[in-house]
């Protein structure tokens, strides 16, 4: 009968081997013959992940309370001459 502990190590070893093999797997990408069609697709920015969505567009007549940049300058230049 196989020792439970040995079986666990063997299982773990096989799992790690599979991870390594899969991470090195080369994928062949297909050549696209009709590229013009690709550029004609409608683009919908709402499908983008949050960190890539367009920034907020200020509406006509909307007042923004922008901070004075001099009050924000807490950073140190690394290249002052």
């Amino acid at each position: 009968m196989i020792n439970k502990e040995k079986a666990l190590y063997v299982g773990l070893g096989v799992f790690l081997l599979l991870v390594v093999l899969c991470s090195n797997k080369k994928v062949k990408y297909d050549e696209v013959k009709n590229v013009a069609m690709e550029g004609e697709k409608d683009f919908n920015s709402s499908a983008l992940p949050k960190e890539l969505r367009p920034p907020y567009r200020v509406q006509e007549g909307e007042e923004l309370q922008l901070a004075n940049p001099k009050s924000m300058n807490g950073l140190k230049s690394k290249f002052s001459r």
Partner: protein, 260 residues
């Protein structure tokens, strides 16, 4: 020849291996498959034998179209051009140096987030005013930048007192995403990082430190500054370009802070 590569909005480096029988000028273009006017790189190199192109992409869409072609033959399918072969296209992890970026600072973090979103979408945004989520930064996306009715050669500029950035949409449409990012980080540096707000070299280097730290490609930074300086070939701009080249070369060798 063009290949469709799933990029799934990830940060990555594309590694494109090409082989030629003789010396050929091979061009690589990587564009977003979905979003118009969104290019990640457009570069060419003289290849004789085997060569590898590294395309660093800190930002990507869902899918990218990777075009590889011999400049003398144009972008035709692999059946129509046997002067070169695309051996492989692989995706690897993007190498970044975040220790130099200072992303822990909320101001830098906020601007990088705002600038990334603006640069990725600039190809489809309408002219108008755009602000960061925290309303600390404002970009005026203008059809062109003008003074007294005269179009200016600069792609962007910042108001030193208000921090408002003006961008020429006409010029930004032709820029790649990394080109746009290099320009915006330069403008940010003038007001928020520089000791001397008027010092162009100081702004170039402070901006480049963030740009390169985030993993953006060196070649795109060279390219956008060269394009901008070609429109205004002054002695000062020549000196700036020498500093930029020196800085980028040394950045890879971890000698960033040796600049005097």
């Amino acid at each position: 020849m063009t290949y469709k590569v799933p990029t799934r909005y990830e940060e990555l480096t594309l590694i494109i291996k090409v082989i030629t029988n003789s010396a050929e000028s091979i061009r690589i273009q990587v564009i977003d498959a979905d979003q118009p006017n969104t290019c990640y790189t457009d570069r060419s190199k003289e290849v004789s034998g085997e060569s590898i192109f590294f395309v660093r992409m800190p930002v990507s869409g869902n899918e990218a179209l990777v075009s590889v072609f011999n400049e003398k033959n144009g972008n035709v399918s692999s059946d129509e051009d046997d002067s070169f072969e695309v051996v492989s296209i692989n995706k690897e992890q993007l190498e970044k140096k975040l220790d130099v970026v200072d992303l822990g600072n909320p101001l830098v973090k906020s601007f990088v987030n705002f600038a990334t979103r603006f640069c990725y979408n600039a190809g489809t945004l309408n002219s108008g005013e755009y602000t960061s989520d925290d309303q600390k930064f404002l970009i005026k996306y203008l059809p062109t930048i003008e003074d007294g009715g005269q179009e200016q050669t600069t792609p962007a500029r910042i108001d030193i007192d208000s921090g408002v950035i003006e961008i020429s949409k006409r010029q930004f449409l032709d820029f790649s995403v990394p080109n746009r990012m290099a320009i915006l980080l330069h403008e940010f540096s003038h007001v928020y990082l520089n000791d001397n707000v008027d010092d162009e070299v100081e702004a170039d280097l402070n901006g480049l430190l963030i740009y390169l730290g985030l993993g953006y490609p060196r070649i795109e930074a060279f390219e956008v500054f060269a394009k901008t300086f070609m429109n205004a070939p002054t002695e000062q701009n020549k000196e700036r370009f020498d500093h930029i080249k020196n800085f980028i070369d040394n950045f890879e060798n971890y000698n960033t802070f040796l600049y005097q």
